[in-house]
C-alpha cells in the first residue's frame, strides 16, 4: 500500500493549487478572447443605424433613398415590416447571435429585403415601401 507522508501531501496540494490557478487564468483569458473577437458590438451599431434611417425615411413625406456610408462586408441584413436583423456571415451554419431591432411602421407602409455578400447598402422608400439592396 502506498503511504503519503506530509511532504507527499504538500506536493499533491501544490499540484492541485497550480492546476486551479491555471484553470482560473484559462477561464479569464477565454472570456477576454471571446469579447475581443465578438462582432456583437458592430452588429448592434449596424442594426441601430438601420432603424434610425428607416424611421427617418418613414417620417418623411414622399420618396427618398439613403446610401449607408460604411463598408458592411461580412454581414447580412434582413428587413421585414416588424424588425431588422443583422447577422455575421459565417462559413458554416448561421450566426447563432443575430442582433434584432424592432420597429413599427405606419399604415400601408411595409419593409422588406436582404443584403448579403456585398460591401454597400442602400435603403429606398418608394410608394410607402421601404427596401434594402446593394447599391449600384
Amino acid at each position: 500500500m502506498l503511504r503519503l507522508n506530509k511532504k507527499g501531501s504538500s506536493i499533491l496540494m501544490a499540484i492541485f493549487e497550480i492546476l486551479a490557478v491555471i484553470l482560473v487564468i484559462l477561464i479569464t483569458f477565454s472570456v477576454a478572447t471571446e469579447f475581443a473577437g465578438s462582432t456583437n458590438t458592430q452588429k448592434t451599431f449596424y442594426a441601430e443605424d438601420m432603424r434610425m434611417m428607416i424611421n427617418t425615411l418613414v417620417g418623411t413625406p414622399g420618396d427618398a433613398s439613403i446610401e449607408y456610408p460604411k463598408d458592411i462586408t461580412g454581414y447580412t441584413f434582413l428587413l421585414t415590416s416588424d424588425e431588422i436583423v443583422v447577422l455575421e456571415d459565417q462559413d458554416e451554419g448561421t450566426d447563432p447571435f443575430p442582433v434584432r431591432r424592432y420597429m413599427s411602421l405606419p399604415f400601408e407602409h411595409s419593409a422588406s429585403g436582404s443584403v448579403k455578400d456585398t460591401g454597400t447598402l442602400c435603403i429606398k422608400k418608394q410608394n410607402k415601401i421601404v427596401t434594402i439592396k446593394p447599391c449600384q
Partner: protein
C-alpha cells in the same frame, strides 16, 4: 493509498483554505465577466432621445399620422397638425402601434398639444415618461383655422422589467 495523521491534518487545513479561496476566485471570475458585459453594454448604448426624435418625425410629417393633407391637391403640409386626425384611434390604427404583449419594452409616446390641451397616447404608454421632446407646430381645426401650438412628445423609453425585448 493512505496518508499519515500529520498529512491528513495538512490536507484538511488546505481543504478549508481552498473552500474559501474557491469561493473568492468564483466571485472574481463572475465580477470580471460582469465588468466586460457592462462595458459592452455601455459601448453599444444609444441615447434614446435620438431614436425618439427619428420615430416622432412621422407624427408631424406624414398624412397617415397627423399631418394635414389638402383633400383636393393631396399636398401634405409637414408641421401642420390636422386636429380632426389627432385621435388615439388614429395613432393605434394608422400611425404607431407597438406589440400588445411585448411593446412595453420599446418606445411609447404621449402627444400633447399644449395650448389646445388635447392628449393622445400609444397603446403601451403607462405614464412612465423618461423625457419630453418639444416641437413647434401649426394646428388646423375643422374650420380650417390655423393656430400656433407646441407639441409635447412625452417619451416612455422602456419599462425595465420588459427590457429584454429590445435587447434580444
Amino acid at each position: 493509498m493512505s496518508i499519515n495523521k500529520k498529512a491528513q491534518f495538512d490536507v484538511a487545513r488546505k481543504s478549508i483554505y481552498w473552500m474559501i479561496a474557491g469561493f473568492i476566485i468564483t466571485l472574481v471570475v463572475i465580477g470580471f465577466v460582469l465588468i466586460i458585459v457592462n462595458y459592452r453594454n455601455a459601448l453599444t448604448e444609444f441615447p434614446p432621445e435620438i431614436n425618439a426624435e427619428f420615430i416622432s418625425l412621422r407624427f408631424t410629417n406624414i398624412p397617415e399620422c397627423f399631418a394635414y393633407q389638402d383633400v383636393d391637391t393631396k399636398r401634405v403640409y409637414p408641421g401642420v397638425i390636422d386636429l380632426d386626425k389627432f385621435t388615439t384611434e388614429r395613432m393605434e390604427l394608422l400611425c404607431y402601434k407597438t406589440n400588445p404583449e411585448k411593446g412595453h419594452g420599446t418606445f411609447n409616446f404621449e402627444l400633447e398639444l399644449r395650448d389646445k390641451g388635447t392628449t393622445i397616447k400609444t397603446n403601451n404608454y403607462f405614464n412612465a415618461a423618461t423625457f419630453t421632446l418639444k416641437r413647434n407646430v401649426f394646428v388646423r381645426d375643422a374650420n380650417g383655422i390655423l393656430s400656433k401650438d407646441e407639441l409635447l412628445i412625452h417619451t416612455q423609453v422602456k419599462i425595465p422589467h420588459f427590457r429584454n425585448y429590445e435587447d434580444t
